[in-house]
Subunit: 226 residues, 4 copies
């Protein structure tokens, strides 16, 4: 038990380096969490701590109501949203939040990202949807994420006027979705600046999504984490 | 006293690395200063020295008229503007100046950045305002900064045809404001390129600003510095 | 034989660092391969493995039907396309695939990049052409690459709604073409955003291409790799 | 004599790191040279060699007709243009060539960059001018640079459909001009995307230019190199 949490602390702390590597976050504005398998607990970044200073030791363990169980610091101010997702979506093992630039520009306009790229079909299975505007401080953000992503292929939601939340079977898969969300948001933005992308047939989108979810990656490895 | 200044020299020198990390500055075009608490002094970058070569030892200590008190090099050519701010705004402990690209593009048009993002509401409490055009070499830039930011929520001003000045309770807070200013300037630019952002209700902006200034971060830590 | 393959494993593994250095790839979405000279074999990246974890040891050796000959992991999911190119174009010694952002934005619109830059005339000899939309999983992508690039000066093709494939006499030349493709795609995009580029005379394009292919670089070194 | 050349080899080799640091060059497409003071010689990058592999030892020394005097490799394919500038402009001690993205986008349209920023007034004294289209291989590029920059305040010229050449009293000053040229080209581009910059009065541009050339930097240090 303690060993599982120790390993997750290490994983969650180090996955934040992918957010900085891909330029998804400025200052301290982004966070990764993981569910502790088989327990009503999550591991999350402390609030307002620089990415340079993150380590397994200063990660925060909370219950699924966001109450701190282990840790000296306050958890991320987005903890309530993460916790709500874990309560409502038992298949989710990881959650990521960013204000990554291009995706947040779509979110500011309240505009879903239409699917015109094979990479988007692979990872998101179609458009990346818009979630509602919601104020921080209660369950409204969590409810908006869950209402938008439940039954949707996309592991990413663009919360209106705010930013991106992604989910995954584990924290690494949610980080991958956050990286790919910004990547396709940027390409889709640029494509639109000079005209209109060529539409893709829905059957092609479906075919790509199905193949990517079931064939890609290494046999015996969890594909959506790669 | 000397120990306080020594620590501030170290802080000011090392905070310049955040300007290069976030790509806010080219060559030597940007600077950070800090007020020496309880003294009529400030610590600032020397003029025209590469960011690679900054150290506690080559920082310059000036009085609040910009006259050098300690240091072998000339202080930043923007020292008069920094000094004016410290004289006029006793609550300010740090000042930063950059020509960061997206913010300066808004400044070139003389256009304030309207608030369509929760991150902007958090840090700036609404729009990021435009200050007047002013020539370097006297108190005009300082006066323009103070006239624009006095009584304004925003810790950042876009000086017309010039660039960004930010203030904070300390140098780290002013650096954070400079980083977040460019971040929201970039996202706001991109959102506008393909249409119009969805407006945010003033009450929501107010609520986010109030919460961020009073709740975010670690208890007992100075929040606006994180 | 084994020594040649060992050296190619090293080369192919390390060339992936150029894809990350120039920001051409996100997560694991891009790959480099090389033909084994004089053998019906190719060396390629394993599927879904992070660029940080690539080494000579985990590269995959396949025959030209994409069947694994050496290696414990699955080869890149794009192996069929690489293999098809090697079967159809005996002069090709290296193939690269990316979803680099600006080039893929042109691909999303199905729009070839017109030649308005001396750098594009040098490396591509004119426009960078569009290839057909093709689903992954058979020979369709490979056929589209070969149909587009056979007899064309350009070593790069923009596969519609997908991304970039480049070819070269060796893997390094194909990587160079991928780097330059994104560079000219970005410049051409920006030029068009604010107006129309000045056309270049076809004779000038021809003259630049001829000179670059025959004069540039170091005598006795294979020029298209530099 | 040999000591002077040895020091210049070191300087020229290491200044290329500024081109990669600021993202001004892709692959090997950009070069720095320096005049050897008091001699009819210049030091320049070898052709087609990766920036990672540059060192004092592999720099090339040429006479002012571009004939190699010291060095085992061929000099940059742009050597004739550098040499022409040194022959025609005795006050020039350094020359830089890049295809930096935003500046080259202006060059592709044949459009000078108008001066709407104090940073541009400081370094360039007004607009950054367009030079003619010219083919590589003779003196045409050099003539175009010299014809455009002679008597002009700007140390940078945008060669049409090609890229940037900058000059300076030494190689470091020319590198600074190349860095600042891309910086203001990018900001000017972005400002124009969403509207029109506010014009600056010519008297203000003149005043800024005069002050920057005569006051900025450290007393006793050569200011335009900082």
């Amino acid at each position: 038990m303690s060993e599982v949490i120790g390993a997750l602390r290490e994983t969650v702390a180090s996955l934040h380096a992918e957010l900085t590597r891909y330029g998804l976050v400025a200052w301290t504005a982004g966070n990764v969490s993981a569910r502790v398998p088989g327990q009503e607990l999550l591991v999350i970044k402390p609030s307002g701590v620089s990415y340079d200073d993150l380590s397994a030791a200063n990660m925060i363990v909370c219950d699924l109501d966001g109450v701190v169980v282990e840790g000296d610091l306050s958890p991320s101010s987005d903890t309530a949203a993460h916790a709500y997702v874990y309560r409502a979506m038992p298949e989710v093992g990881g959650v990521v939040h960013t204000h990554s630039t291009y995706a947040t520009a779509w979110a500011a306009r309240g505009e879903a990202i239409p699917c015109h790229l094979t990479a988007q079909a692979d990872e998101f299975g179609g458009e990346i949807p818009i979630g509602p505007f919601a104020l921080i401080g209660g369950d409204d953000i969590g409810k908006g994420i869950v209402a938008t992503l439940s039954g949707h292929r996309s592991p990413a939601v663009l919360m209106r006027n705010h930013g991106v939340f992604t989910i995954g079977k584990d924290a690494r898969a949610a980080v991958k979705a956050a990286v790919m969300c910004e990547d396709v948001a940027r390409t889709a933005h640029l494509a639109r600046v000079l005209g209109q992308p060529v539409p893709m047939a829905q059957a092609d989108v479906d075919s790509l999504y199905d193949r990517y979810q079931n064939v890609y990656g290494q046999p015996g490895r969890q594909l959506s984490a790669d």
